[in-house]
Each structure stands twice: as structure tokens, then as C-alpha cells.
């Protein structure tokens, strides 16, 4: 018997699953086809070493849309977000900067470095919060195109304008600065503590091939505060069981709505007839028909590989070719026999339950970028470290630990290309850098998993290993993501839609792209 599907979603990444769930909730019969043996895409947990579970790629839940958590009843399907509350930045002089979630504690700690910064921090926070409130609603909507005169675009723009009008003059001025300045320059206007500026500006460079002094990086500072607006909701943290459990919860919700998910089913091509998507062809042979095809793959993979340039207008193809990926980050996941002992903060304190950021100064980060600009892995990389087993002990055998190290910059197009030796050298660089701050780390390692951008590309299918399916840089965000004029999830091929991070608003385990795409397909307003 042949099952007929209304929609096929390519890829069981979290956005594909979210999109599928919403489509099925609206009554569509949906099939999700996934290349690998499990759901999740880059949000997956795996027992890489016996007894040790790794969040192999993405490792925190950041900005997962509260409306998705509610609509799909993710807690009922097993999602449990545990708090990840502090950030420790070890400094070159043996001291440290810690940021704590408790207001008083945080203020005390900052005051230890700079009394003025401790006060500026709160003012800065208020300003960012107010701006984030004005800009945030934009993320949950199909982005209006300022070049379009369509009623829906005009309405969307009017709504955005109304949000911005609610801002005071100083906030509008600050927003302009955020859109034009580098994060280092912007933070220089506020703070004097190097480690604070560096640690904050690190959030502006993640997943981009830009440095803290590159213009445009300031904007991403705002994203952090968008998370704070949902602070009560606590959508920021560490998913119990690793980031794979976010995907598993969404998959369970999707199945609950009747979605069929097939793993180890690789889509070879999107079938296009007379400018219309009619289904997909599988690598294993065979075709599956559906009036709707939704691609969770990144824009280049979707259009250049699965669809084929021959089915697309030239200027659209040119737009896709211009869309930048430039993967710049890698990961090292460690199985540890014991906890790292940081020289600046010895022992097993509360700091090990939060993030540890190797970002002692803006210069440090910019130098790390300098290496990458010329095709090398940073000799002293920026690293964002978490120890998931400190938050969820079930990630490792009792008394043992897992450590996730996000590393930047690790260029996709490293000089001479990625080889086994290069990958090991990258791993050594990371361990050497960490050992400068936690000397016991070398003897504690039971197993290490090293992931380069090339590995990300081959394992998850993300072009050039870009973790956001395309750089989150201003020239390819909002109504420009991925291609000007095609930011509303529809594509030049009728019946073919996109739902991955390569679309607005993109990036992080947010799910907004998948949800927005579903609403665009259903012709409803999210």
C-alpha cells in the first residue's frame, strides 16, 4: 500500500522537526527523511566513549522559543532544561572574572575588577533589555521586506516601526550603533575591564568569520538580552541528557501529531516538474511524492545539490553562491577521570557548574582571529567550556565527567586542507591552551573527540561546517537571509520551502526558523 504524504521534510534537525510538528498539527500528513541513524542534526547526544554521553555539536539550549515549548508541550515529551548560571573567565595574571546569576554576587564580583563597570553593567543591561524588547518580536515573524510594497510587508514594517517608536531617543541611537559598530568598540564605550569586554564580545563572534573588532558584531550582543526577556521562562540552559534530548522531545511531539520519521533515508534530489516540487528521490532508489517539500538543509545544499541550479533563476543561484558560510569553529569533547582544577579558582566550586570562557582580553580574541584570517587554527583560541556532568551527572559514570569545548577560530579552509595530522594538532592546541589554566587536564583525559569544520560538514551536512547554516552576519540576516527577496521560506520552486537556520532568524537551537516556515507554508501568521 502506498502512503500519500502532504509534505516531506528533508532532515530531522531540530528546525525540520519543529516545522514537521507544526504542519502535522495543522492536519498535514508529514514525512521526515533523515540521512543519519538518529534525529537531531547538530543537536544530538551520543555515547561516544562507553558510559560517557556527549552533546557532540551544539551543547546549550539557547533561545529555544518559549512558544514552541508551549505549543509542542515539550516538557511532557521529556524536555528538562537545567540552569547554566555562571561564567568564569580565567585571566593571565592568575585572577579570574566570574559572572554569577545572583545580582548581588555578580555586582560584588565585578566591583572587585572595576567599581565603575559594576554600575555600568546594570545600566547597560537595562538599555539592552529595552532594545531587545523592541527588536525581539521581529524574530518570531516572517521578516517584512522593506523593498516590497505588498500589504503584508507594509504591515510588518509598520509593526516594526511601532515597536521602535516605543523606544526613547537614546535607545534608537544605541540601536544604530549596535548595527554598525564592532562589539569591542561598542563595549569600550561602556566598560574598562578587559576580561568583561572580551567575554561579552565573544558572543558576537560565535559562528562567524569575524573578530571582536569587526564592524557589525555588536548587534549579536542584543541576542543575549533577548534570552533575558524570556528569563522567567528559563529557555536558556543545559538540556538534561544533552542537546539530543531537545531533538528527541520535538520528535516525540511531532510523532504525537502523526509525523512519520525515517532515519537512514538520504534524499538525493528534490523532484521538480514544470517549476514545481513534486517529491523527492532517495539515494537508495525510489521516489516519494508530495505536493510540499520542505528542506531543513542549508541553502547551498538545498539549492545547488538537492534541487540543482538548472531549476532556478540565475540571480537566485548567484544569491545562493554569495551566501557566506565560512565555518570558523570546532569542538573538542573530553571524557574525564576527574574534574579540571583551575589555578585561578582551585577545587570543585560552583564555577564548574557554569561556562568557562577562555577570553582574557579583546586582544586575545582578535589575535585568535588574526591566525584564522590567514588560514590557520588560532594558536591561542577562544574557548567556551561546559562540564555537562556537573549539571546532569547522568552524562558520565559516577565521579567521572564529560567536558564540551567549543573552539574558535578553526577555519574550514585551513591552509593545506584538513588532514588527520591537522585535526590532532588542533586537538593538542586546545588541550595545551586549557592546560595553561587547568594543569591537571592532560592526566584526566580518558578519551577525546575532535571535531573540525570539515567533520561538521561530513557528519551533519552543514556546508563548510558553519554551525548556523550560514554566517549570522548583518549582510545576510533578516530580509536578506538567505537571499534578498527570498527570506520568507518560499523558494523560486513552487511547493518547495526552506525551514533551516539558513533562513530568518537562524542560528542556535532556537526553532524559530522551523516554526516561522510552518506558518508561512500554512499561510498563517505566527
Amino acid at each position: 500500500m502506498k502512503t500519500r504524504y502532504d509534505a516531506i521534510v528533508i532532515g530531522a534537525g531540530h528546525n525540520g522537526l519543529v516545522c514537521a510538528a507544526y504542519l502535522a498539527r495543522a492536519g498535514k500528513r508529514v514525512l521526515v527523511l533523515e540521512r543519519s541513524d538518529r534525529v537531531g542534526g547538530a543537536a544530538r547526544s551520543e555515547e561516544v566513549f562507553p558510559g560517557f554521553r556527549f552533546s557532540v555539536f551544539s551543547y546549550v539550549v539557547s533561545l529555544l522559543r518559549p512558544e514552541i515549548i508551549r505549543d509542542l508541550e515539550l516538557p511532557r515529551h521529556g524536555l528538562h532544561i537545567l540552569p547554566l548560571e555562571s561564567t568564569l573567565t580565567p585571566l593571565a595574571n592568575g585572577d579570574y572574572l566570574a559572572q554569577w546569576s545572583d545580582h548581588d554576587q555578580n555586582r560584588r564580583e565585578l566591583a572587585h575588577h572595576s567599581l565603575r563597570d559594576a554600575e555600568a553593567y546594570e545600566e547597560f543591561g537595562m538599555l539592552m533589555y529595552r532594545m531587545a524588547r523592541a527588536v525581539k518580536p521581529f524574530l518570531g515573524r516572517v521578516p517584512p521586506d522593506p523593498a516590497s510594497l505588498a500589504p503584508r510587508d507594509l504591515l510588518g514594517l509598520a509593526r516594526l516601526a511601532a515597536n521602535l517608536r516605543g523606544l526613547g531617543a537614546d535607545q534608537v541611537h544605541a540601536l544604530h550603533k549596535l548595527l554598525t559598530m564592532s562589539s569591542a568598540d561598542y563595549l569600550d564605550e561602556w566598560f574598562e575591564c578587559e576580561a568583561l569586554k572580551a567575554t561579552k564580545s565573544a558572543s558576537g563572534i560565535i559562528g562567524t568569520f569575524l573578530g571582536p573588532r569587526s564592524p557589525g558584531t555588536a548587534y549579536v550582543l542584543l541576542h543575549h538580552y533577548m534570552g533575558e526577556i524570556d528569563g522567567v521562562f528559563r529557555a536558556w540552559g543545559f538540556a538534561k541528557g544533552g542537546n539530543g534530548s531537545v531533538s528527541d522531545a520535538i520528535a516525540a511531539a511531532a510523532r504525537g501529531f502523526g509525523v512519520e520519521i525515517r532515519t537512514e533515508s538520504t534524499v538525493a534530489r528534490v523532484l521538480v516538474r514544470n517549476g514545481r516540487a513534486t517529491g523527492v528521490a532517495l539515494e537508495s532508489g525510489g521516489e516519494i511524492e508530495a505536493a510540499l517539500v520542505v528542506s531543513g538543509a542549508d541553502p547551498r545544499r538545498t539549492f545547488m545539490q538537492l534541487v540543482g541550479a538548472e531549476h532556478l533563476p540565475q540571480e537566485f543561484v548567484a544569491g545562493i553562491e554569495r551566501f557566506r558560510f565560512r565555518g570558523s569553529s570546532g569542538k573538542v569533547n573530553l571524557a574525564l577521570a576527574e574534574l579540571p582544577d583551575f589555578s585561578c579558582f582551585p577545587g570543585a566550586g560552583p564555577h564548574l557548574r557554569g561556562a568557562i570562557s577562555i577570553s582574557p582580553s579583546v586582544d586575545y580574541l582578535e589575535r585568535a582571529y588574526d591566525d584564522a584570517k590567514y588560514g590557520e587554527v588560532s594558536r591561542q583560541p577562544y574557548m567556551d567550556i561546559v562540564i555537562p556532568s556537573m549539571i546532569d551527572p547522568s552524562m558520565a559514570p559516577p565521579g567521572k565527567h564529560v567536558m564540551s569545548i567549543f573552539v574558535q577560530y578553526v577555519p574550514h579552509n585551513v591552509n593545506g586542507g584538513w588532514t588527520e595530522a591537522k585535526r590532532e594538532a588542533f586537538g593538542d592546541t586546545v588541550i595545551d591552551t586549557l592546560a595553561q589554566h587547568a594543569p591537571n587536564i592532560r592526566s584526566a583525559i580518558l578519551h577525546r573527540q575532535i571535531i573540525t569544520p570539515a567533520d561538521i560538514e561530513s557528519m551533519v551536512g552543514l556546508t563548510e561546517g558553519n554551525i548556523f547554516q550560514g554566517e549570522l552576519a548583518l549582510q545576510q540576516m533578516f530580509f536578506l537571509r538567505p537571499v534578498p527577496g527570498w527570506a520568507k521560506y518560499a523558494t523560486p520552486v513552487s511547493g518547495l520551502y526552506q525551514c533551516g537556520s539558513g533562513t530568518h532568524p537562524g542560528g542556535g537551537v532556537m526553532g524559530a526558523s522551523g516554526r516561522n516556515a510552518a506558518f508561512a507554508i500554512l499561510g498563517e501568521r505566527p
Partner: protein, 395 residues
């Protein structure tokens, strides 16, 4: 981590209730005894000793120190003389309150400013181009309040200066049992009282000297719960509780001007430019839309509401700090921000923000009260602040 004050070695063993409260990143006792009652009554009948070290304190020094302060606060600092203390608020450029506190003129060029919020950056930024240095002395300075009718007698036992000469809102540098201190004739209780400022390193001997001298007079260490009742009786507002400082306000509506907080007397529009002056001058013309007033709930009305539920009137055991709707003219006319039972006045009182139309003393209003899980409205009226204003307060 949270800090303990320089008096912690003394206050901790006394804190039988184990009830501590946070204040500006420090912990201080909510009450020492199991209930705060005796501590409150000490403020009004003998003397209470309160640890107020968590206050933010700044030292402002230099030829232009008075100019700097005049540029920031709404009152005239230049008009003060050494030995004087000013209570004042200060605003942002829109004329909305940022904070309130005291400025003690210790010398012609030397001031100590206290505040509820950190303000170093604000002061330093406003000092640009002036010969005035601002130092945060919050941690280095310990402070106690000795409040109550016996406070003068106790302090005089060990003070180097003649306190009969220290008038209301004046300050003197002297000694307590030989330890250098400054003593101001100030407080937050609306009673006769003093505040004692000393180096953090001298905190414990100062505490010991006061307890020793005060014991024959019935001195009682008192916590924040007792202080809260007293300051409401005195009609004194509290930042974060009774108003949202402009820097923390999420919307414009959350901010307040000094006029709206009944602080018109602290705004000197004749003074040369200060932060917020233009906005305040304009507001002075058009009259504020809100007023900060006293509310007195009518006992009979309260009794009737409880009687309906088959109960005798029940009263809050401690002062409350929540937003409670006030009704007038068929709609909500405002909201109370703190209130409670005054054990001395035997009245249920509250501090409230009211639409100016309903703010005249004597106006009949209603305050929401919850009786047996049901929201009711009790008849109340607007009254003049302070609720309690003894002659000895200014003596």
C-alpha cells in the same frame, strides 16, 4: 558572595530568629528576637541600635565638591554650611528620580553622601571638568543608627561632644569612648535619633561601647522589620519599594518625579543648572499628575468586612511591601506601596501613589484588603504625612 557587615561578629550571635535580609549585597538581621515587636517598641520608647552599614557611601572632596553635588542633586548644596546634613533626591535629565539620600558637609570641601543605589559612576561622570574627587567608601565605613527617646542620653554617656548642641540634621566629628566617629542627628524612624559613622576597623568597639552605655537605658538591637514599621509611621519612602529608580524602570510609567513623591521641598529651581532642572521646571508649571500620600484605613469598615466572614479583624503581622490598589470615584485611583499596622497609633496605615485628583487630605477612598481569600474594599481616607511626628523628632 554576600558580605556581612563590620558588626557581624556581634549581630550574628544575637540573631536568635535566624532571619536575615539582603540589603545592597550585605546581609542584615530582619529581627534579632523571634518577633520584631520589642525592637519596634524600643525605637519609640527607649532606644534601638540598628546596623545601617550597607548604605552606599561616597566621599566627595575638592575645591568644586559642592559644585559637583549641586550639579547632581535637586537641593542647594552651596547654601549648606559645614556641619550640616541635607536630605535630597537626585534625578536624570528627564527629571525622574534616580535615588535619594543624605549629604553631610563635613568641611567646606568635604562631603559624605549616602544613597540606596550605587552611584559612583554617576558622580564621577558628572565631575568631568571639576576639581572634585569621588571615592566609594561604602565598605570602609561602618554605620549604626541609635534611635529612640533615650538615644541622646545613651550617646552622651560616651561621646566627646556636647550632643545638646547637635541640632536636627547636623553632624559633628567627635569620639565615642575615645574612638574617632562622626555623629549625625539624623535617622530613618521619625524619632529622636542619631547615626554614628566610623572606620570599619573600629566597628566592634563602637558597638560594644554603645551596648554597654545603653544597657541601663534599655537599648535593644533592632532589625529591618522594626525599622520598616517606624519609617512608614514617619512617612519616609523607600527606594525599590515605594518608587522605582529611573535607571531600573522598564517603562516611562514606572518612573517618578520628586514632585510626584512629595519632595517638592527638596527641589530648588532657583539653583543654577542641575541634572533634570529643565524638566522639573516644566513640571512645576503644570503640576504633577501623581501624589505620594498617607492612607488611613477606617477601623469600623475593616471590622465590618471581617465580621461578614465571621471573624475578628486580622492585621498584617509585619509591614507589607506590595502594590495594593486604591479606589476612588468608581475606578482605581492609585496604589499603595507599603503599609501595616501602627502599634503606637493603633491605626492601619499605608503609603500610596494617588492620581492628583484624589490626593487631597480628607478625601474618601477605598483600599483593597483580602478577607478570607476574597478581595474586598475597605473605606479609607487620605491623610497628611507623617502619621507620627513627635516633637522630640526635631529636638
Amino acid at each position: 558572595m554576600l558580605r556581612t557587615t563590620p558588626f557581624h561578629a556581634r549581630t550574628a550571635p544575637l540573631c536568635l530568629s535566624h532571619a536575615w535580609r539582603r540589603w545592597a549585597g550585605y546581609v542584615v538581621a530582619s529581627s534579632y528576637e523571634l518577633t520584631h515587636e520589642r525592637e519596634y517598641h524600643a525605637i519609640r520608647s527607649s532606644a534601638a541600635l540598628l546596623d545601617i552599614s550597607p548604605l552606599y557611601k561616597y566621599r566627595v572632596f575638592g575645591r568644586d565638591a559642592a559644585r559637583l553635588l549641586d550639579r547632581v542633586v535637586t537641593r542647594s548644596v552651596a547654601a549648606s554650611t559645614p556641619g550640616q546634613v541635607l536630605y535630597t533626591g537626585w534625578c536624570d535629565a528627564a527629571g525622574k528620580m534616580l535615588d535619594d539620600g543624605t549629604i553631610a558637609r563635613l568641611d567646606a570641601d568635604l562631603f559624605r553622601m549616602t544613597s540606596a543605589e550605587p552611584g559612583l559612576r554617576w558622580l564621577q561622570d558628572n565631575a568631568a571638568g571639576l576639581d572634585a574627587a569621588v571615592t566609594d567608601i561604602s565598605d570602609a565605613t561602618a554605620a549604626l543608627a541609635l534611635q529612640g527617646p533615650s538615644s541622646r542620653a545613651i550617646l552622651q554617656e560616651i561621646a566627646g561632644a556636647d550632643l545638646a548642641k547637635l541640632r536636627f540634621f547636623r553632624i559633628v566629628a567627635t569620639t565615642l569612648k575615645g574612638i574617632p566617629v562622626t555623629i549625625s542627628r539624623t535617622g530613618y524612624t521619625g524619632d529622636l535619633g542619631y547615626e554614628i559613622w566610623t572606620d570599619a576597623g573600629d566597628a566592634l568597639p563602637v558597638w560594644d561601647a554603645l551596648i554597654e552605655a545603653g544597657t541601663p537605658y534599655g537599648i535593644v538591637p533592632a532589625g529591618m522589620l522594626a525599622l520598616d514599621v517606624a519609617r512608614i509611621e514617619a512617612g519616609l519612602m523607600l527606594l525599590d519599594v515605594d518608587y522605582v529608580p529611573a535607571r531600573k524602570a522598564l517603562t516611562g510609567r514606572q518612573t517618578s518625579s520628586p514632585y510626584e513623591l512629595d519632595l517638592a521641598w527638596t527641589v530648588n529651581l532657583k539653583k543654577e543648572g542641575f541634572v533634570g532642572k529643565a524638566a522639573l521646571a516644566e513640571e512645576a508649571q503644570r503640576k504633577p499628575e501623581w501624589q505620594f500620600v498617607g492612607i488611613e484605613v477606617e477601623w469600623d469598615a475593616l471590622e465590618r468586612l471581617y465580621a461578614k466572614a465571621g471573624l475578628a479583624p486580622q492585621l498584617p503581622a509585619t509591614a507589607w511591601r506590595t502594590s495594593v490598589p486604591i479606589y476612588a470615584g468608581g475606578g482605581q485611583a492609585g496604589y499603595a506601596t507599603s503599609g501595616g499596622w501602627s502599634p503606637l497609633l493603633k491605626k492601619y496605615i499605608a503609603l500610596a501613589h494617588l492620581d492628583a485628583r484624589w490626593a487631597r487630605p480628607g478625601t474618601a477612598v477605598e483600599m483593597e484588603v483580602t478577607v478570607e481569600h476574597r478581595r474586598e474594599r475597605a473605606a479609607a481616607r487620605v491623610v497628611k504625612k507623617p502619621f507620627f511626628d513627635p516633637e522630640r523628632k526635631r529636638a
